[in-house]
């Protein structure tokens, strides 16, 4: 498969300034709300440190906690399955469904099932899968993957969705109104939930102490998917296990505040076992996680609790749309997790970052995201992932930045060139930045020139 070209993929999104602006505004709003929520909690930084340490402890004792979780879940009446990879996961889920003669499956949002490409697997085998999360269903009906791990359809405007629902459901195309559109979805999805043969959820956390799978949703769709049918299946990435309820409290306090700026979501649901006469299955999925855990550079990325704070703060993500990454996990966390899954396919992703460090600063479990992005660039360099153009550009930049005189000369020459060169010469093929933006007007003098003019040789202000 060809490497994902995130820059090229983002061009379509950027062509329409309405989408670019709306997406940027929405996503940056989440970041601002996250900041306000964090300021409200005096112990916020202590919670982040604690969460990071709890995750590091758990990941360094992962086998023990998985066994404890299995033992408790089994004692609760659930059946626990283990899957080495996506195919095994999909096959296990299909076998459970087939054993019950189930033909319809309703599910809440699960990035793990996206990662496993479970929906097409089931559909090829005659199982109808219905996403019950509003955003995920919008994407499913449009045959698109999620563009954001919290709000799967955030890249669509309300008008886009009104048109989509008109196309699919025959609703009023001119009512670009979120209340109306949510109502349309409820009217069409609820009957499918009520009649479903089986229900499925993902997991935000799996509590070893109690054997409970915990989901965090706004809509109540996990509670419906997990409670209405008598057959419940929960897909859980092995890194989602945490020791106990005391630790769960730390993550519940951090997760929603980091994601949307609210203190908690409407539904924090704990599925520990089946009801009388029903079945609960838990599928514990590796799919590359044990391999990543063995990598001393990149294992901390497994601490991720999928809040998307790193995406919300990332200037590249906010201005390129989530679909451009061509990946299940997008934004900064995608940059450091997707290459683990397929280093060739995602070799360009670590370059979709300014490495400004903001992602690490907002991460509720203190993953050193920007440093891992840099480390992945080194991996790409070591494995021949750099193009000749990129190598030449880096070499030139390295030479300039290590020689102040050469850097000043280049900066002054560049400023002059921008002022005098004709348009076609400035916007040439090598100017990737200028392909879709206007190059800013060059200042009349560099800072160094200004400083020399105003402060003089001794560094003092020349004015009395």
């Amino acid at each position: 498969m060809k490497p994902v070209d995130q820059v090229r993929n983002s061009l379509g999104f950027l062509e329409d300034p309405t989408h670019e602006h709306a997406f940027d505004t929405l996503i940056w709003g989440l970041r601002e709300r996250r900041d306000a929520a964090a300021r409200e909690v005096p112990e916020w930084e202590d919670l982040r440190t604690l969460a990071s340490r709890i995750k590091e402890h758990t990941l360094s004792h992962l086998a023990d906690y998985l066994e404890q979780f299995e033992q408790r879940a089994t004692a609760n009446g659930a059946r626990v399955h283990w899957a080495r990879d996506a195919h095994e996961h999909n096959q296990i889920v299909y076998d459970i469904l087939a054993a019950h003669g189930a033909k319809t499956l309703v599910k809440s949002k699960s990035m793990l099932t996206e990662e496993c490409e479970m929906r097409p697997f089931m559909e090829r085998r005659g199982i109808t899968v219905t996403e019950t999360d509003l955003g995920e269903r919008i994407q499913q009906l449009d045959h698109q993957p999620p563009s954001h791990i919290v709000g799967p359809a955030f890249q669509k405007t309300t008008k886009d969705i009104a048109e989509e629902f008109h196309r699919v459901y025959g609703s009023d195309p001119d009512r670009a109104d979120a209340v109306y559109l949510a109502h349309v979805m409820r009217e069409h999805t609820r009957p499918l939930i009520l009649a479903a043969d089986a229900g499925m959820t993902g997991a935000n956390f799996a509590v070893a102490e109690t054997g409970a799978v915990v989901t965090v949703t706004n809509e109540g769709n996990a509670d419906l998917s997990g409670n209405v049918p008598t057959l419940r299946i929960c897909s859980v990435g092995i890194e989602k296990v945490i020791p106990g309820l005391a630790e769960l409290a730390v993550f519940v306090r951090l997760l929603t505040r980091s994601a949307t700026g609210e203190r908690i979501t409407q539904y924090t649901s704990h599925f520990a076992g089946p009801r009388v006469g029903a079945e609960m299955h838990v599928v514990l999925v590796d799919n590359g996680r044990s391999q990543r855990l063995a990598d001393e550079r990149f294992w901390p990325s497994l601490k991720c609790i999928r809040c998307a704070a790193c995406m919300n703060t990332c200037p590249v993500y906010r201005r390129s749309g989530g679909l451009s990454y061509g990946a299940t996990y997008m934004g900064p966390i995608g940059l450091i997790t997707m290459p683990s899954a397929d280093v060739r396919r995602y070799r360009e992703l670590p370059f979709s970052s300014t490495i400004n460090g903001s992602c690490s600063n907002v991460c509720p479990v203190q993953i050193d995201i920007h440093e891992q992005i840099y480390a992945w660039r080194e991996v790409m360099d070591d494995t021949g992932g750099f193009s000749a153009t990129k190598k030449a550009a880096m070499k030139l930049a390295g030479a300039l930045l290590s020689h102040p005189g050469a850097f000043r000369a280049a900066a002054e020459a560049g400023g002059t060139a921008l002022r005098v060169l004709p348009h076609f010469a400035v916007y040439n093929r090598l100017n990737a930045w200028g392909r879709h933006r206007d190059v800013p007007e060059a200042p009349k003098e560099t800072f160094h020139q200004w400083y020399a003019r105003n402060r003089g040789k001794d560094g003092h202000d020349g004015r009395s």
């Binding site: 709000g151 809509e219 209405v228 599925f271 044990s290 063995a294």
Partner: protein, 210 residues
Amino acid sequence: MDAREDILTAIRDHGPAPRELSRVPDFHRDGGDLADLFTAALARLDGQAIPPPAAGLRQWLAATFPDATRICSAVPEVTGTITPDQFPDWAAPADVDVTVVRTPLGVAETGSILLTEKELGVNTIAVLAQHLVVLLDPADIVADVHLAYRHPSFRQAAYAVLLSGPSGSADIGGVTVHPAQGVTTLTAVLAPAPLQAPAPDRHPDERSTP
């Protein structure tokens, strides 16, 4: 080797060096009246908390939900049109207008209430109904999420949900709207629990042995 052994062996053989588990400290600090804090927190997600209605719960329900014809009551304080044990299956509560239930726990920090199969009987009555009315004794409100997770239900229940507002979604344009797939409104009535009849005194010799 089967998948379970494969995965556990890979993790044990190649995982990171062991790290200590940090203890979760007590973050509690006095921050005011718990019922007031609960009310304010619940309002953030568009739920509402009210004092016990002066005219009584039955009158309040009739006035607040005048069109409701199907009321599912899981509490002795209210006689509805149906009780949870009368549903033939767990999809059946889809036609319920109002569910009334009592919670054993409120969380002031987040405006959450706890419900489990013990209070609900049929778990879906709290999600499929159009409106949810939850009776909460102010004495059952704890300050924060840390204290909430000490409640025994989280160790005992097959299903437990911390409900913190009516079902909503911000998936369209980032604007939160109600309802999504769950209840349209959530009202917590801050009503003390009725006094339990005291258990009859028994002679120590009558106690059953464990």
